[in-house]
């Protein structure tokens, strides 16, 4: 037989292992370069600030020798590459300097504010995926029918309306006029201090503590902002699901499934979507990363004490350490999410294993 199954010999196996190691090595190298670039960009931004960081410390009436000493202490007389090396060293020790606004180390602030952002973005992505994938599938299956037009309109509105504007309108209608949801913030003031933070995510903490009154209150606060982020995520996910599904449904293996006499439900959800799921993972991860970013505007509108609001607050007070620290953290999470999606992709697609 000319086309028998090749039995794997030990030599082949070690060669396969080697290819895998090379691929993994390349992957890690790329990751390292990207992170390095991220650091270089934030470092560069920190250097072009027109504000003199020494003056900010000593005040503009300090005598010249004090100025010079502080400048030396801050390492600003060193060559640029040396400063960059110090910067990288600091970042690796998780030292982003102190925030002028809160006078705490930036890292502490980030740890304090990040869970709120994470909670919002995660809920938004969950909503977007739960509703977006079925909608996209429906649009592809009923191409040119109502579901398809519906997804198209949702997508166009999502791609065209400013998120902060929709947020404001949402507050106007659902909070102020209808009273269906609670207003800005994560909790009512009365509940604010009833909860000991464990994870920093109010919903999780309240559930862990079994405090359902707080949980209900937290839900009514998070409903609107997470629905808003969910909408944007849905707009993106449903549109991409539609186009992936259209592609899969035109493949030959779908005809095979029909020839086999499988039900349409099984063909769509078991065969086509299972294949579309592979690129969809990347899309969902990308949407998640974008929600982390979109939280800057949403958090401002809803007075949500997350990282996005921390960055904008610091911005308005020229607190560069805080801005760059926050930017770097979001950038790293962004890269991490994308990397993770890449790994999941490999796991889901047998062809890349």
């Amino acid at each position: 037989m000319t086309d028998a199954v090749n039995d794997t010999t030990p030599g082949e196996r070690s060669r396969a292992l080697l290819t895998f190691a090379v691929a993994a090595g390349r992957f890690l190298l790329m990751l390292a370069i990207t992170l390095f670039g991220l650091l270089a960009v934030t470092f560069f931004i920190g250097r072009i600030v027109p504000v003199d960081p020494v003056l900010a410390v000593v005040g503009d009436r300090a005598p010249a020798h004090v100025y010079a000493r502080v400048r030396e202490e801050m390492g600003l007389d060193l060559p640029l590459w040396h400063q960059f090396a110090i910067y990288i060293g600091n970042v690796f020790r998780a030292d982003f300097g102190n925030s002028i606004l809160t006078s705490r180390p930036v890292v502490e602030d980030v740890v304090r504010y990040f869970p709120a952002t994470l909670e919002l973005a995660t809920l938004g992505t969950l909503l977007g995926t739960i509703f977006g994938v079925p909608l996209g599938v429906a649009a592809a299956v009923k191409r040119g029918k109502f579901a398809d037009h519906f997804v198209r309109v949702i997508g166009l509105v999502g791609y065209s309306a400013p998120i902060f504007w929709l947020g404001l309108l949402g507050l106007l209608v659902f909070y102020s006029k209808l009273g269906w949801v609670a207003g800005p913030g994560r909790l009512d003031v009365t509940y604010e201090y009833m909860l000991t933070p464990v994870t920093g995510m109010v919903l999780v903490d309240a559930a862990l503590a079994g405090d359902w009154a707080v949980f209900r209150n937290a839900i009514s606060h998070i409903a609107l902002p997470s629905a808003l982020l969910g909408y944007y995520s849905l707009a993106y996910i449903s549109r991409m699901t539609r186009s992936f599904m259209l592609n899969e449904l035109s493949q030959e293996y779908v005809t095979t499934a029909r020839v086999k006499g499988l039900s349409e439900t099984r063909i769509i959800w078991g065969h086509a979507l299972r294949n579309a799921a592979v690129p969809l993972i990347t899309v969902i991860a990308l949407s998640y990363a974008h929600l982390l970013e979109g939280s800057v505007l949403t958090e401002t509108v809803f007075a949500w004490p997350g990282l996005g609001r921390y960055i904008t607050n610091s911005l308005q007070n020229a607190d560069m350490n805080a801005v760059l620290g926050g930017t770097l953290v979001i950038g790293i999470v962004f890269v991490a999410v994308n990397t993770f999606s890449d790994l999941l992709y490999r796991l889901f697609d047998p062809r890349t294993r």
Binding site: M30, I33, T34, G37, L38, A40, V41, T42, I45, G46, I48, V49, P50, L156, V157, Y159, S160, A161, P162, I163, F164, W165, L166, L168, L169, L171, L172, S176, S243, L246, A289, H290, L292, E293, G294, V296, L297, T300, V301, I311, T312, L315, Q316, A318, M320, V323, L324, T327, I330, G331, F334, V335, N338
Partner: protein
């Protein structure tokens, strides 16, 4: 050109445009453009998008004539503040007694300027980096693509925020920041396109005639990459408008009293509950214009790049 004088009357012009044997380059180009236009004009949504964009351009040009009041100087603060829409103030007035309609009309200039400047800065940069990277290959390609990836790895709005923070708030810095964050996708597209062209026969022929890489890239490769980059730029324009509005909303874009739409929403924010129109009207303007660019971009892609999506 003799051929150009040939058509007489409407039907023969169409024949001249749609002929399968054009007799000059100009005729072939015009014929192609005509066929694209016919396909494009059959798509009502795309035509609607084009209509919105044209209206935006006309409003921006004739802002002085179309505005009924001054965009920056308000009326009597005691009697004309926060007025609801009326015959005198079509879209109401804001907290400084300024006519919202007139501010929106003048704001269209800013929006258009942002879109045009970002495009003018980011598109050539992306095009250049992408074509050079794709044509040269080797380590130049590796380095340039790594840099592109790093910029792609950053969330756009956050990076723009950080840049504006460093450069200082203002519309010019906002435009620079948005441009810095928008070129990478164009570079990617231009590179992909270059890779498919670079070993084609006509490029090899030009190379054999002794043309320099610079000449090959600028005269022979770049023109062929332009269409796909333009489609992407059009699709991005709504995103550029939204980012600019977001920066304005955060107080990092145009500074008061400039009538920038995002900043107008921010200033109406504190009155949203009692005076809804102050924040709502500029939002509608942003929405409609972004929608126009999105529809236009979708339509262009369907006509010029039928293999993408669907």
């Amino acid at each position: 050109m003799a051929e150009l004088a040939a058509p007489s009357g409407k039907s023969s012009l169409r024949e001249w445009l749609t002929t399968s044997e054009p007799r000059s380059r100009a005729q072939a180009r015009l014929g192609n453009a005509y066929r694209s236009w016919v396909a494009f004009s059959r798509n009502p949504l795309a035509m609607f998008g084009l209509f919105i964009v044209l209206v935006l351009i006309i409003v921006a040009i004739f802002a002085d004539q179309l505005a009924t009041h001054s965009p920056t100087v308000g009326g009597d603060l005691r009697t004309e503040r926060l007025q609801p829409p009326s015959a005198a103030h079509w879209l109401g007035t804001d907290n400084q007694a300024r006519d919202i309609y007139s501010r929106l009309v003048h704001g269209s200039r800013l929006t258009l300027m942002v879109v045009m400047l970002v495009t003018v800065i980011a598109m050539p940069v992306g095009l250049l980096i992408g074509t050079v990277s794709g044509y040269m290959g080797g380590w130049i390609d590796a380095v340039l693509m790594r840099i592109t990836d790093i910029f792609l790895a950053f969330p756009r709005l956050i990076l723009a925020l950080a840049f504006v923070a460093a450069l200082g708030p203002g519309i010019v810095n906002a435009i620079i920041a948005i441009a810095i964050t928008s070129w990478p996708p164009y570079a990617r597209i231009a590179r992909a396109e270059t890779l498919t062209i670079r070993n084609s026969d006509f490029v090899v022929a030009v190379r054999l005639q002794g043309a320099s890489p610079f000449r090959i890239i600028t005269r022979h490769i770049m023109p062929l990459c332009v269409p796909s980059v333009i489609i992407r730029v059009t699709l991005d324009m709504a995103g550029i408008i939204l980012t600019a509005a977001g920066l304005g909303f955060l107080g990092l874009g145009a500074q008061p009293p400039t009538p920038e739409w995002g900043a107008m929403i921010a200033s109406g924010r504190q009155f949203i509950i009692d005076y809804w129109w102050v924040a709502t009207m500029p939002g509608i303007a942003i929405f409609v214009v972004s929608l126009g660019f999105n529809l236009l971009g979708d339509g262009l892609r369907d006509v010029l790049d039928p293999k993408a999506e669907k």
